[in-house]
């Protein structure tokens, strides 16, 4: 695109939100800016942030594409990882199995959408239930304890490198860079934007629309599995009901990040900033002992405010021209 695939006003808005949230909390209690707190925010942000990166691709592909099953893929992958670790096999094998499982689940979503032509919202609603169900079957509904796993594995979620959390520096950052590269600098990314903008025109221009959309689900699946691995390592447990909020929260983040819900616009850059906004707001509420029942509501308010602010900016711009 030669840019970052997100318009300036949205970028500015997200930065203002981020500044306002941090500033507001700091006004109440300056301690929130302490290194320990910022690190905690980052750690909480990583898992849903990875889900949101994958979700960005799916939504960008258009045709009302969303993946409601990313949280469920994270959970089932995490459970498979847990089963491998419980059998005392190499932890690397477990991670590989989880990522492959994520790819397969994503492919199942993608094929059901592209080949069977079932709307993605229905496909992934169904697979969300199916994947959570399988996770329950595999575990018998009981969490798998992983605290006795090899330290090298647990370091993925608990270690730190040059003072920063391992998963922020060595997982989230490289994954984000890879996603940004894929979306903004490759033929796949260009094809994805064109597909999301006008899929009929894209098909008639010789772009493999179905293959591209199918691939977005595979990407979302692999990234969801990765999020599942990180959360298992962080908590030292594999839960069949992991990442339940991630299914919808990842969509909210992508929309907050400036993506057009009908496809063709938005980028992972926006999704990262939106993830940071959500993480700061969420953490600050708990830190200041607000009742946690308000947290979901606050995220809703942010989402609506952002859309209204954007509309206002566009309205002004139109009046000027």
């Amino acid at each position: 695109m030669g840019g970052i695939g997100i318009d300036r006003s949205r970028l500015l808005l997200l930065i203002v939100f981020l500044g306002a949230a941090l500033g507001g909390y700091a006004f109440i209690d300056l301690q929130i800016l302490a290194a320990g707190n910022l690190t905690s925010m980052a750690v909480f942000a990583v898992e849903v942030g990875i889900l949101a990166l994958g979700q960005t691709f799916v939504i960008c592909g258009g045709d009302g594409g969303v993946d409601l099953s990313v949280g469920a893929i994270a959970a089932l992958s995490q459970v498979l990882l847990g089963l491998v670790l419980k059998d005392r096999l190499a932890w690397e094998l477990g991670v590989l199995a989880a990522l492959c499982a994520g790819a397969v689940m994503g492919l199942a979503n993608g094929l059901a959408y592209a080949v069977l032509r079932i709307p993605s919202i229905i496909v992934t609603l169904a697979t969300m239930f199916a994947f959570y169900g399988l996770a329950l079957v595999f575990t018998g509904g009981i969490n798998i304890d992983l605290t006795a796993s090899p330290p090298a594995f647990l370091a993925i979620g608990q270690g730190s490198v040059i003072g920063l959390p391992f998963q922020v520096l060595l997982i989230y950052l490289p994954v984000f860079l890879a996603c940004a590269y894929l979306q903004l600098f490759t033929a796949f990314g260009r094809g994805l934007y064109l597909t999301g903008t006008n899929d009929l025109a894209a098909r008639l221009a010789g772009i493999g629309v179905n293959r591209i959309r199918c691939l977005t689900f595979v990407i979302a699946g692999v990234l969801a599995a990765l999020a599942g691995v990180v959360s298992a390592a962080r908590l030292g447990t594999a839960r069949p009901d992991a990442s339940e909020t991630g299914n919808l929260l990842s969509i909210a983040i992508v929309v907050l990040g400036g993506a057009d819900i009908f496809g063709g616009d938005g980028s992972v850059v926006g999704s990262v900033l939106a993830t940071m906004v959500i993480a700061v707001v969420d953490y600050g509420l708990s830190y200041n002992n607000f009742n946690p029942i308000y947290q979901a509501g606050v995220i809703g308010v942010i989402l609506i405010t952002s859309v209204m602010a954007q509309n206002l900016v566009r309205f002004r711009a139109r009046q000027r021209s």
């Binding site: 903008t197 025109a201 008639l204």
Partner: protein
């Protein structure tokens, strides 16, 4: 005095003239047929008459009083109703609900009084011989023909005195058409004014009291029933094209070696049946026909977008069966689609993305990276080669004029080395200057050895660019030959199905 009288109606869209001073008067108790090919201005005239758009100038008189329609509701209140070829209905509501939509009869508490509504429509249903049992059925359970009748009943219910039929028979069966004509005759006898729009010549003598031929946004003749002859109407419809001489010296190719591109006996019902095109290299083959003749569908089948049920497609002597446009493009076949907005434009993306959408794979460098510098360079080259006026390649294409958008999409295909290039309505809805420019580009393409196909409903365009013409009607090839030997009248006659149409050469 005419019930409705239009005088000096003009309308421009952007720089394009749609109507240039149209006069039309329709009496109570007559059926006035409006005849013209696609793009002659019939639809624009109807949209003005129903209050959907306002004319640039001219007056509309109803019962002798000049009226300015504020909106469609206003036109309706003055007694004008229209029945379109694709009925505009609420499919999930019942017939009764459809008839009263927006104007329900309500009780004091705002409740809908179905019984009162049913009683109100009864006389109109009787007049149209419609079974009252239909009232409770959902609209979606009715055939298109019956849906039209319901809309006619609705027009009567709203006291319409002027009823416009816009190509109502194009998707009706023969029996449904007969029934519709009988009803139209009855409405006319009841003192209403009927305006009937068609491009089907055969229907004219069956229903017309008067005929007005519209050509290129102007009235080229009005006749009463006794003066109507097929020959005369064909001559008038071809009128604007007669001034255009066919190409002075078409390139001599007929009977030459194997055409580089051909389809033989290709079928894809219900769109087209047993169609053969032989397209030679280095020349322009014009495909003329009315909208719905199956021209675009043949192209889409060759381009791998539509699956044919029979026949074969050959490119350079090889039988090909592309399963997707992607594959067709790789084989050397290009297709510029007819609908700019729907099938071509990436509206809110930069010009550069639009120009290069079909050649992205050529700009992939390791590792998977797009060569943005190369893409920009390519976009600049294409912009200057095809004279596309835009500030720079990153300008969003939606902000350009229609003519420049169309040149952009044309260039997307014309600037690549295709062996066969199918251009579907390459100049629809753009200004005359840009049109001439594109025509020159098309001739150049052919001169450089490309096998060019131009699908068009615009006869002057076909005559201006084609070395050879193929005429299609209702999914079949009905005439084929040199523009000179067919002549403008012959081409129109074949396309509309007039009796003296030239025979297809065996």
């Amino acid at each position: 005095m005419s019930l409705v009288e239009l005088s000096g109606i003009t309308k421009h869209f952007g720089g394009v003239r749609a109507l240039g001073g149209v006069d039309l008067g329709v009496e109570a108790g007559e059926t006035h047929v409006l005849l013209g090919e696609n793009g002659a201005g019939k639809s624009t005239l109807i949209r003005i008459l129903t209050g959907a758009i306002a004319p640039d100038s001219g007056t509309i008189r109803i019962d002798g009083a000049a009226r300015v329609f504020r909106n469609p509701q206003h036109a309706q209140a003055l007694g004008i109703a229209a029945v379109y070829q694709e009925p505009l209905v609420y499919r999930h509501l019942t017939v009764l609900e459809n008839m009263f939509v927006g104007q329900e009869i309500c009780g004091p508490a705002g409740t809908v009084r179905r019984a009162a509504m049913a009683a109100t429509v009864l006389p109109w249903f009787r007049e149209l011989d419609l079974d009252t049992e239909l009232l409770a059925r959902p609209m979606s359970s009715l055939s298109i023909g019956y849906q039209q009748l319901v809309l006619i009943a609705q027009a009567l219910l709203r006291n319409a005195r002027i009823i416009i039929f816009d190509e109502p028979t194009s998707i009706l069966s023969a029996a449904e058409t007969d029934r519709l004509f009988a009803i139209i005759a009855r409405l006319r006898a009841g003192g209403r004014a009927i305006i009937y729009i068609t491009h089907r010549l055969a229907e004219v003598p069956r229903i017309a009291d008067h005929v007005t031929v519209l050509t290129d946004g102007a009235v080229s003749g009005t006749f009463s029933r006794g003066e109507i002859s097929e020959e005369r109407l064909v001559t008038l419809m071809a009128g604007k094209a007669r001034g255009h001489a066919p190409l002075a010296s078409p390139r001599p190719f007929a009977g030459e070696a194997e055409p580089v591109f051909s389809v033989r006996g290709l079928s894809a019902p219900p769109y087209f049946t047993d169609v053969s095109w032989h397209i030679p290299a280095g020349a322009v083959s014009g495909i003329y026909g009315l909208v719905g003749a199956g021209r675009s569908e043949v192209a889409l089948a060759a381009f791998g977008f539509l699956r044919p049920t029979g026949g074969e497609i050959r490119l350079g002597g090889q039988v090909i069966a592309p399963r997707s446009p992607k594959e067709a493009i790789r084989l050397g076949l290009g297709y510029l689609p007819e609908d700019r907005k729907l099938q071509g434009l990436f509206a809110n993306k930069p010009l550069e993305s639009n120009l290069t959408a079909n050649v992205l794979s050529r700009f992939v460098r390791a590792p998977m990276r797009l060569d943005f510098g190369g893409l920009m360079g390519e976009a600049r080259r294409v912009m200057s080669r095809y004279n596309i006026k835009a500030p720079n390649p990153l300008t969003v294409i939606r902000t350009l004029s229609g003519g420049n958008q169309q040149k952009g999409l044309f260039a997307r295909w014309a600037s690549r080395p295709f062996r066969v290039l199918i251009l579907d309505e390459p100049t629809r809805g753009i200004d005359v200057h840009t049109k001439d420019e594109i025509h020159a580009f098309i001739r150049n393409l052919a001169a450089s050895g490309v096998a060019v196909v131009v699908i068009s409903s615009d006869l002057p365009e076909v005559l201006a660019v084609s070395d050879r013409v193929i005429v299609m009607r209702e999914g079949r090839v009905v005439a084929e030959g040199w523009p000179r030997e067919l002549g403008a009248e012959g081409i129109v006659a074949a396309a509309v199905g007039a009796a003296e149409a030239p025979r297809v050469p065996a």
